[in-house]
């Protein structure tokens, strides 16, 4: 089994706060992965609000949030295990955010050192 990070991107900060129904669907999706014993790390969700995101650049330049430059912003990640990247992609496809609000999921194999 390989490990894959699923990195979530949302298009609009307004989508960050899901309705209770949307939240239930998202939890069902996550619960389904865990029920197959394929969840390695339930990861974290990143706050997109004013003052909770800064970007540090060379020469002591600090800018507010990532959202001034790109419209999409990373909202969180999880790590799953799967036989191959195709299986990881299938799992990502089932995520309800595509029907709910749009956005995208980047699937990345995790480098393992051992």
């Amino acid at each position: 089994m390989k490990e894959f990070a699923l990195i979530f991107r949302l298009k609009d900060i307004a989508d960050f706060k899901p309705s209770p129904e949307q939240m239930q669907e998202r939890m069902n999706w996550l619960g389904s992965i865990a029920a197959q014993n394929k969840l390695v790390d339930k990861g974290s969700t990143f706050l997109p609000t004013q003052g909770s995101a800064k970007t540090v650049k060379p020469n002591n330049v600090v800018t507010d949030g990532p959202y001034t430059e790109i419209k999409e912003f990373i909202s969180g990640y999880i790590v799953i295990k799967a036989d191959n990247i195709d299986e990881a992609v299938e799992i990502a496809k089932a995520n309800p955010i595509f029907d709910q609000v749009g956005g995208n999921i980047e699937v990345r194999e995790v480098l393992k050192l051992y």
């Binding site: 239930q24 996550l30 619960g31 389904s32 865990a34 029920a35 197959q36 969840l39």
Partner: protein, 395 residues
């Protein structure tokens, strides 16, 4: 009894205390068969155990003098008088569980040992509780006993941090003790009820002590209360299991449900969420009448529970809740992803989900469940179900 003996004599070898305890019961069965049961059987048992223990120390003392030509001061302890009282027993039982939960062993080994020595579990029962092979458990218990011996095992008063660090394992032990009583394959109603009430009694003691009265302890106790409230309704007069939907709800114990509510509220006085909180939450919803959102709440709690700790049973229960919310068709897809093909409950669940739409698939899953389960009652129930479906199909 083993616990009391160990505590009062500081026996380094648990085996000796166990031998004395079983000797005592043997003598009791011989003696009582002839003379009848004494007026106070508990006192009788403890007097005999006390004398046997004194004898043992005398033997040891003689043995030591002859072989080593030196008498160690250890045996002075045998002269110490001691009393057995119900207060001592309850405390001893808990003290012993805490003592066995020694970090010299892995958490799982600690729990195995506690279940075996203190709760009288057989190796098979422990293996069932852990869903592992009996051989693994046997080895685990042997190793754990050896390492406790090397660690100069004794029951002493534990310091505050020691109690706190061992509490998690103690709670897990009590949780398994309760579950064995609640879900036991044994058909002996009385034994099951005894295990459950023993687990509740010990957990209750933990809530009475400031050090151990944590949100987790309260959540576990709430879970036990909710589950126990249905004990009487879960089996019929013949000792057969009654499914949840068919239970006579008037048999549910309302006083226990209220106690469960009380402890669950206590458990939520800060933001801690443990697996006991979630399981108590699920058990709480089961005590409520079926409303629109009942199963959605249960499903969400299962989602959280499976994120904390994966177990095949949780995954299957979650799939059942999923079926209650989204219907059998969607739940089939969800359940088949689990691929727990060696698990009898997996096939039972799929049989149940297919029963309305694809009878032949349902029957084939039920047949596979029968092959994999060890429980006779379960085999019987499933065979009945297959018969019902076959008749329905031929009509």
């Amino acid at each position: 009894m083993t616990a009391v003996l160990c505590r009062h004599f500081g026996l380094t070898h648990i085996e000796i205390a166990e031998d004395i305890a079983s000797d005592t019961f043997l003598k009791a069965s011989e003696n009582w068969a002839i003379n009848g049961i004494p007026e106070n059987p508990t006192a009788w048992l403890y007097t005999v155990a006390k004398n046997k223990t004194k004898d043992y120390f005398k033997h040891i003392a003689v043995f030591e003098t002859q072989i080593k030509e030196a008498i160690q001061s250890n045996e002075i302890e045998t002269e110490k008088d001691f009393e057995f009282s119900s207060q001592n027993i309850s405390d001893s039982q808990l003290a012993m569980i805490f003592a066995v939960c020694n970090s010299a062993n892995s958490t799982e080994a600690q729990i195995c040992l506690a279940l075996q020595i203190l709760c009288g579990f057989s190796v098979e029962e422990i293996a069932n509780a852990f869903l592992t092979k009996t051989e693994t458990i046997k080895k685990r218990v042997l190793r754990a006993r050896a390492s406790l011996r090397n660690d100069n095992f004794q029951i002493k008063t534990l310091s505050e941090p020691e109690i706190k660090s061992r509490l998690d394992t103690v709670l897990k032990t009590l949780y398994l003790l309760f579950n064995e009583g609640y879900f036991s394959k044994s058909n002996n109603q009385q034994i099951r009820k005894d295990l459950c009430s023993e687990a509740i009694r010990l957990t209750l003691i933990l809530t009475e002590n400031q050090l151990t009265d944590t949100p987790q302890t309260n959540a576990l106790l709430a879970l036990m209360c909710f589950q126990s409230s249905r004990l009487a309704a879960r089996t019929n007069d013949k000792g057969e299991a009654v499914l949840f939907d068919e239970q006579d709800k008037s048999l549910w114990n309302k006083a226990l449900i209220e106690k469960g509510n009380y402890f669950l509220i206590n458990a939520c006085n800060n933001n801690e969420t443990s697996k006991y909180h979630l399981e108590a939450g699920i058990a709480y919803w089961h005590t409520t009448p079926t409303g629109q959102n009942k199963w959605q709440h249960i499903l969400q709690l299962y989602n959280q529970l499976i994120l904390i700790e994966y177990s095949p049973i949780t995954a299957l229960n979650r799939a059942f809740a999923f079926a209650k919310v989204y219907g059998h068709d969607q739940a089939i897809t969800e359940a088949e992803k689990l691929q727990l093909t060696d698990n009898s409950y997996y096939h039972e669940l799929l049989g149940y989900l297919y029963a309305d739409t694809d009878i032949s698939k349902a029957i084939s899953h039920y047949e596979q469940a029968i092959q994999r389960t060890k429980s006779k009652t379960e085999k019987l129930t499933l065979t009945k179900e297959i018969k019902r479906l076959t008749e329905q199909n031929s009509r």
